[in-house]
């Protein structure tokens, strides 16, 4: 399923969750993750809506408690912080995605975090609203270029999010491919990133029972 990994349909947004879903459908998406949504809707206009929870930079026990208290079926995002925090976040059971990479200082996301993310099957979110915003564009393009180099080497799951807080912030797939081309991401990589959420939410088991014999 083609997924927009994050839209912010909370109380401060001027767009309703239904309108986000409607716009996503017209943009060619079949699923969106609504981060801390104000409404509880599971599907609209043929687009399935998953609930997401964003956990900020918390220290020690507070972070683990926040992950534990998240209800089942919710996609857990963690806001990236210092290098040591990112390593903890990526290896914590129950964390699905690491976001906010573009705000990190240089070296905030290194090869060790990449390796850990690949081992734990934790996704890294590329927020395209950072590219659209002219203030954060340069930093975002440079960080995403670095992350892409790590992804090509360590093969951790990469996800694409519009990061929109209004429906005007959502982009269609052609536009996403064109924007991703700015930092060297190929069309094939974009398409696999848009489709990689299923692999994170239900990862392949090492051993799978195909048929049980009595």
């Amino acid at each position: 399923m083609i997924t927009d990994a994050c839209v912010y349909a909370n109380n401060s947004s001027h767009t309703t969750l239904r309108r986000f879903a409607l716009t996503a459908a017209s943009c060619g998406f079949s699923r969106i993750i609504a981060c801390d949504p104000a409404e509880d809707i599971s599907e609209y206009a043929g687009v399935s809506i998953l609930k997401g929870r964003l956990i900020g930079k918390l220290s020690g026990k507070a972070f683990f408690d926040a992950v534990k208290k998240t209800p089942a079926g919710t996609v857990v995002f963690v806001q990236a912080g210092e290098n040591s925090f990112n390593r903890t976040a990526v290896t914590t059971k129950g964390v699905h995605l690491l976001t906010g990479i573009s705000d990190l200082p240089k070296g905030g996301f290194d090869h060790i975090v990449s390796k850990m993310a690949a081992q734990q099957n934790t996704g890294v979110v590329l927020d395209f609203s950072r590219i659209i915003d002219p203030k954060t564009r340069r930093t975002a393009l440079s960080r995403y270029d670095e992350i892409l180099a790590f992804q090509r080497k360590y093969h951790f799951p990469l996800l694409i999010a519009s990061g929109a807080s209004e429906c005007l912030g959502q982009r269609n797939i052609t536009e996403i491919i064109a924007l991703a081309d700015l930092f060297g991401m190929t069309e094939q990589e974009v398409r696999s990133a848009l489709d990689s959420l299923d692999g994170i939410l239900s990862p392949k088991k090492t051993v799978e029972i195909v048929e049980e014999r009595s």
Partner: protein
């Protein structure tokens, strides 16, 4: 300067895009927004190679022109437009083609209430049956019925 023969002319590509904004911008205003984002993204040198122009605009649709091979760059530039005439906006690329005619055939004029899931822009007094607490500007018919 005399007109170049067809074989020496540069090949061009056209991009149809939809303008989503509460205002009704003129072709010149659409061009200004597009040119600004092309320059911001690729610089003056990139813009000079791309030759961006708005060749047609009607209602919420417009057609932009660029040199062949720069369509992707033009779409990226259109995708980063966030404002027009000081109002929030989005330019949504619909299709790319070698002729204006084929793009004009792809323009769909939507009637306000015919679509199964119409999206409303609730600004000012367009929709007046919402409660005062509802601060949403962008909603759907179902959101209004719910209230």
């Amino acid at each position: 300067m005399s007109v170049l023969p067809p074989t020496l002319r540069e090949n061009r590509r056209y991009v149809l895009f939809r303008i989503i904004t509460p205002v009704n911008p003129t072709q010149k205003e659409v061009y200004r927004s597009m040119a600004e984002s092309v320059t911001a993204l690729f610089g003056d040198a990139g813009a000079a190679k791309m030759h961006p122009a708005v060749v047609w605009s009607e209602g919420e649709y417009a057609i932009a022109r660029c040199t062949r091979g720069y369509e992707k760059s033009l779409i990226a530039a259109l995708a980063v437009v966030t404002k027009i005439c000081g109002e929030p906006a989005a330019f949504r690329s619909v299709a790319t083609s070698g002729t204006i005619l084929s793009l004009k055939k792809k323009v769909v004029h939507e009637a306000a209430d015919d679509a199964a899931y119409p999206g409303y822009l609730c600004a000012g007094k367009k929709v007046n049956n919402l409660s005062k607490e509802n601060g949403h500007r962008y909603l759907t018919r179902d959101d209004i019925i719910k209230e």
